[in-house]
Point group: D2
Chain length 261, copies 4
């Protein structure tokens, strides 16, 4: 057994799933059943204008899935807004886990590099278990660990792009240098992307769009779950070193072996 | 069920494994047990100078694994040599399956682009089920299909390099244009590589070095088997289209949903 | 001086230009004046249906530019067709230079890997100076040299795509292994692409679409000419080896230098 | 004429050169003569332990080259240290230009994302013309502009690696979103890298290692200068749009044109 350990809590899965953009609540439920994720993340500020009934039933749905909930502060643009939202989430959902998102730019939805550490610091002091959504910036991630974050969640690419890791060298350097669990959050579009970051030693991945917008979200959820496990196994199995020149898998002699004395 | 179908025969796995370079026969056996491959490939011209005993026990080992055998013509440099070797393999192993390898360059171990079609044609006429090891060259692969090959096995990169797909555009064009099963053979180093080509619609992968030279070949065999299934599932599940700009997975409003009337 | 030498003839430029798809004959003329290419290539089979006048004036235009002409066999699909076209070009243009193109697939416009060597062989025997348009296939290119080609012209990507080198490893291996001049023909879209292949030691580039379809073909022709020279200079200047970890360009001490005794 | 304009000052070159790591002062001088850079950057804290004479003669060398000097704060790790160093440079070199470097991590030499804006702000208030060395982080670069920087200098890759642009998508997004001149500083290893970022619309490049460590630094300086101009020309000339499928540069008919009536 090789559990994912976050803030001392053990999780048997290394996949975290978002809950937005699914074609229907039923498909979300089935995808969760297929992937068996460690946690489900949901925004407090969901788009449900004028429809309290929809909100209540979504909340009931989340509770029924019996998967730990990770509320997030999606849509927040300032430290104060993120803290207020986190406090409301704690009250509403009854959990002190929070995925900290502060948007620094509305076009790329990039995390606010300059204010993330301060917000994380304050939330940790208020007793939250903070999972900060960050970029792959090494200095930023080291500071997040310095203030007490027991895990960091760098992006692979901007949210919803599905492009996969845009800067492999930076992500691999980050993995070498940061000693807490690292979960890739945002930008993965394919199971092979998830497998790849796990091979590099990342501890988990968080997905939403790539599953929710697949033609068959349930089968895609299952594919991502398998790819994450495959990548983790490969990490432990010790991958071969790429070679610049060809090497025969079968060294041969001139004489078929059964002709030899 | 979604079997791999080659020359009318159904296989439940989409992974083919080579049998060379394992640290020990026992680890080969365990890797095969872990991966449950469709076929095992073995060279007739194995390196076993002056050791008939070793050859006999390797042959016994292969038979005991109860996995269909795919003899190969590794080490052949001419059409005539490949045909002789295939005929010997048919007699020795009692199978008309043959993985056709003709080396055109000893440094890169590149298939002999110019002589492969002729060799495949002759072997097909002699009643072999030919799986030709080729490059990603579209014209070459189309001609192999023209002469009757019911599957083609392009490389991803030179044998033993583990670099993964060097020319994704060419491999994806090949997949679109060739109507028979395509199995990526050679050059894959990581489960994410295998997952990726399966996402593109490839029908299977053949591996040797990446498993045999892993620190833990058994766990790596299992990782590859899972990655191949994940990639196949993703192919059927219909992957999202990568986007150039960010898209929030959670569109948000200004008001938390439970505050709405 | 570092001339490009093809079949014993010296050229002061390492850029070859195509003559098709320009917005106007005047822009073609100005682009040629700006780039000062080694040769201009033109197809015998130009699209000029029912317009002999246009053909004649195009021919006059080419002659007036005082740049050596390299007729090509674009549009040919068989060895026989290519040979006939080459013979007609020799008669019409009064030159024994020929850029040999045999299309093996109409969608990718890939060279016909399997018939190129035979066609080159016949043309060489007929006294042509053959510049074969090929893929980056090492075995193919070695065979072209074997039959007597004194230069080979591999593609970087399919004609007109402008994608730049799709398979850098294969192109660099080709450069290491082939002893005759290599000119990248087709697929370059940007001056940086041209610069890159020259840095690898390629001897020249042939362009058409990237110049002809630029908004300002004349300035683009000039840009490509400068990029080719820059790449050649870099090749001779001996490029640094990329490093995996940072190295200060300015190693520093604790004390500003003017404070030191 | 298309000058580079920084803080209202016009420069006829778009190449800035570092002055460290050259094999000899003479080669530095010749490289500068060959490249005709806009500015020369030099660290105050140069490695010249116990050798005041060397320092003085280096300083004389810089003055004799008649190229504007851009002192830098290389080796500084805090805001206060950077400000002190900038003030000393202003006094020593008699210029209010400063390249602001604050190292946030000693292994990657990454700029200190979290303290760069504050340092830039203070230096601008003290009357410096600040060119901040930054990462490609969009939020960081926007904030640098917000506090008054009239140009920003993102890295392409860690200093001295020569890897070229590691995250093209982020660099291109940055170019689209930031309205002041952008100069790529650090990480370029080849003229083709410089050409590429200029094609994207970057306003200039700053180099050191790639020139200083070339086997022939003078020829390499010349190559970079030409590549920068080629990239700038290509930017203005309007590059073609890459295509996914091949397009014949010479559309052909069945009949050679001179056979037509």
């Amino acid at each position: 057994t090789d559990p994912l350990i976050l803030y001392g809590q053990h999780f048997s899965s290394r996949l975290l799933l978002g809950t937005a953009r699914y074609p229907s609540p039923a498909l979300l439920e089935q995808a969760v059943a297929a992937a068996q994720p460690a946690m489900l993340t949901a925004a407090l500020r969901r788009q449900s204008a004028g429809n309290a009934e929809a909100s209540r039933s979504f909340w009931t749905l989340l509770q029924n899935m019996q998967t730990p909930l990770l509320p997030n502060t999606a849509g927040c643009h300032s430290v104060q807004e993120a803290i207020s939202t986190a406090e409301m989430a704690r009250e509403l959902y009854g959990t002190d886990w929070i995925k900290l998102e502060i948007i620094g730019d509305d076009y790329t939805l990039q995390p606010d590099t300059l204010n993330l550490v301060g917000a994380a610091d304050q939330l940790l002091r208020r007793g939250f278990k903070v999972l900060p959504y960050s970029t792959e910036d090494l200095v930023l991630c080291l500071r997040l660990v310095d203030v007490g974050c027991q895990a960091v969640m760098p992006w692979a690419a901007p949210i919803g792009t599905g492009k996969g890791p845009l800067n492999p060298l930076a992500l691999r350097t980050l993995r070498e240098r940061v000693q807490v669990p690292l979960i890739v959050d945002a930008g993965l579009g394919l199971p092979s992307h998830a497998c790849q970051v796990m091979e590099w030693g990342y501890d988990g991945v968080l997905l939403n769009t790539a599953v929710a917008l697949a033609l068959d979200p349930v089968r895609m959820a299952q594919a991502f779950a398998a790819a994450v496990r495959a990548g983790r196994d490969a990490f432990w199995a010790g991958t071969m070193t790429p070679q610049d020149s060809a090497q025969p898998s079968t060294p041969v002699l001139g004489t078929p072996f059964w002709h030899q004395p």
